[in-house]
């Protein structure tokens, strides 16, 4: 899995390539921690090259979400692969934030 984080003032963008599994979810957590340490209040996630996400990966995102909300942060999944889009909407994650394909 490859992760790229871009920080530009109030906006952070993370691009994920490959699969976020139980084996590598900690790398995702590290990137999210960097966003929390920055001034960002908007996190854009580009999951168009992401093959799938395990519950460990979702767990890291939700822990981040709860902390990010305390500073009025907003998460948006700006792009997702069809498989990931189907997965995230099936587990109703779109009830928490915007998910685009």
């Amino acid at each position: 899995m490859e992760l790229v984080l871009q920080l530009e003032g109030k906006k952070a963008k993370i691009m994920v390539e490959g699969s976020i599994t139980s084996d590598n979810a900690y790398i995702f957590k590290d990137k999210l921690s960097e966003v929390l340490d920055s001034d960002a209040t908007l996190l854009e996630l580009d999951l168009s090259a992401c093959k799938n996400i395990s519950s460990s990966g979702i767990g890291k995102l939700l822990i981040f979400y709860k902390e990010f909300m305390t500073r009025d942060g907003k998460i948006e999944i700006v792009k997702s692969s069809p498989i990931v889009y189907e997965l995230l909407t099936t587990i109703k994650l779109d009830q928490l934030f915007s998910i685009n394909m």
Binding site: S19, T21, S22, Y26, K51, S54, S55, S56, I58, L87
Partner: protein
Amino acid sequence: MDSEQRFRILIVDRSGDAYRLLQNPLQWNGYYLENATETAKALNRVSYSHFDLVLIRDEHPEIDGIELLDRIKKSVRKSLPVILLVDQINSSYAVRAIRAGVHDVIEKPDNPTTLLDMIRKQLQEQQNESARKSALKALNEITMSFSFQGNRLAQPHIASNVVQTFLGDIRMPPAAMSTLELCLDEMVQNALIHGILQIKPDERHQDIPDYNEFLDNRFSQPEMKDHRIDINCSMQPQTRLIRIRVSDTGAGFDFESHLKKDLSVFSLEHIGRGITFIRTLADSVSFEHGGRTIIIEKHFKDL
């Protein structure tokens, strides 16, 4: 008789240019060839006769290639390979064609050799796929078992290695492979974290270096050698059913409360998210031996 003689190709070409370009080389190579000069005639021919491939020379507006492709896929045979032949490919056309189910979009070449090679390749792939499916359907069940000793469970990628070993030679659609990998990853994690190691939520959510040290310590305990996770994968090609069974030697867990959870509302709680994933992705989930064995079943449209 050359085996390729069985292949029947319909060319849809209003002007007849493409038909004339391909007629001799295709017939010399033993293919049966027909030309339809109108959309209606083409639809009639593919509806009432068997063809292995349709090549449409898109000459919009007289012959709208994508519309004809769409009608063939929806009303005649979804699996019938269709190639669109165009003067020039642009990205929006290619996207529309892919969405409608095209097998290939190609620019009209000056000589027929390139086109002939593409047609041969397409038909060969179709023949291989057909042979693979026939061989698969002749089997009642394929099963494979894996066993991991407790002190070896620290190794990564167990789920993807098992799925690749089991299904590596069966070219399943990527989405199906991904779903199975995800389900198995959750099942193995569940067996390991909740079953064998019985890690508490506060232990799981400590900082990464501490958590890794904590896990290393647990895996190095002598009693881990007495634990194991067994995985049994089976596939019934005729019913397109895949069943995965994961058993662990842990203390089990309260699976009944998880099965009562409402899946129509997203929950932020930490506990049981993996089981929620599995319930969402699989067609059925069941437990045995007090939660020490989990069994999922998933039907796939295509294997």
